[in-house]
Amino acid sequence: MKAVILDGIILGLGFGLLGVGMTLVYGLGGVLNLAYGEFAVLAAIVVAQAISGGMPTVLAAVLGILAAATAGVLLDLSLMRPVYRQSTGHRVLLGLMLTLGLAFVIEGVLTWRDPLGGLTISIGGKPISILGVPIAVGSVWAALITLAVGVVLLVFFAATTFGRGVRSVIQDELGARLVGISPSLVRTVIFGLSGALAGLVAVTQSMTSPLTVSGGFNLTVYALIVSVVGGLGSVAGAFLAGILLGIVDDVSARYIGSYISDIVLLGAAALTILVRPRGLFGS
């Protein structure tokens, strides 16, 4: 049981990081980016190609993250322009349609160019014992990187001027404009950050299990679930929700069956909407 929970926490940290990139974009104006998981896959393919081209792994990982960040910025500057001109209801629908379309395009192109593509970063070494449970070295690294980035993100949003500016747009966009903040500039930056986080998740996930060309949809779904449970727009909420859901996922996969765990997670999201619509930390 201890091993299952520890595994779940490590899995959940990754969920949390994944959720942050989805929840911030949603909080900043109601767009659920359904191409989000494809950004991770894009990064994975870039990293894999760069490594097979002889680039050192760390450099390749940075390149992949930059590629996904660029994809995020380009999405904001192109398809999102007409979306943010719409009022709230139409904005949500148009945003869903356009990002879903983009998801199909990215997945289609990647599958066509590199049908067997995928990323596995194997880190050798004997498993490390944590609380008496042996954990693979790759998982330990993935968890440490995720934790470190999570702390940086929390501090960034709590204590920096730009971070507070982002939160102000989430809480009251008009109020933010009145203090001199450009919501559209904030959105562009956060779309870039969101892409970078998707890319980072691709890298950390591939340290524990392969990420393949067809894995994007699942990542999008996980990110959505984490966003809903954590509270839309909340970084701390995303991490807490991610860890909780990671444990739930691992426990249900172990004791019931892996086929059930996705359904359990979706159930948790649905329950959150019914019982506490603003999520764990939402405002």
Binding site: T161, R164, G165, S168, Q171, R177, L178, G180
Partner: protein, 233 residues
Amino acid sequence: MLLEVSTLAAGYLGQTVVQGVNLEVSPGEVVAIIGSNGAGKTTLMRAIAGLLRPMAGRVSLAGRDMTRWPAHRVAGAGVAYVPAERHLFPAMTVKTNLVLGAYPHRPQREALELVFEIFPALKPRLQQRAGTLSGGQQQMVAVGRALVAQPRLLMLDEPSTGLAPKLAKDAFEALGSLKGRGMTLLVAEQQVPLALSVADRGYVLENGRITLEGTPHELDRNPEVRRAYLGVA
């Protein structure tokens, strides 16, 4: 001239709400826009603040044309607008709300001291979430947030909205002490006696047009104003 509005027209969805508006505010002056509900005061204020793109006319600040500037740029140029609905950041503390007023800079100590001098009630509530404050306190935070920006022009839309008569009077007294410190103010208000108590000059806005302009004394004596806004037969 600090603010100069000429032949301004503005509205929503192609419908003109205000038109042909000419208005001026000199540095250090307190100017009131009075008029009943629906006269177009808020539309006019929003058009000046950049929240609404004017359909015609010109808005300039110290001679610089800012007619088509977005709101965040107008704010950055030194025009702080406090809308009637306040638009605070409800989940943030009073302190963070005030600090954000200076975005993208750190707030100046003198600016914060001024806020606490005008609104001493905010000091013990710095760590409270803005969304949990009473209406009067939220109004103080909204004005305080605008003051932290050390604006060249402070615009307030209906500062008396949602406040009990005593609190509305307090709010205008606070504006009076800002005036005493040389702040330039443009205030839209339908409670005419309150507005005229603090203003150097006033404009009467009716059905989207300026119909009268004058000192509080002149407006006070005008039979039209007395009948329409001061409840005097």
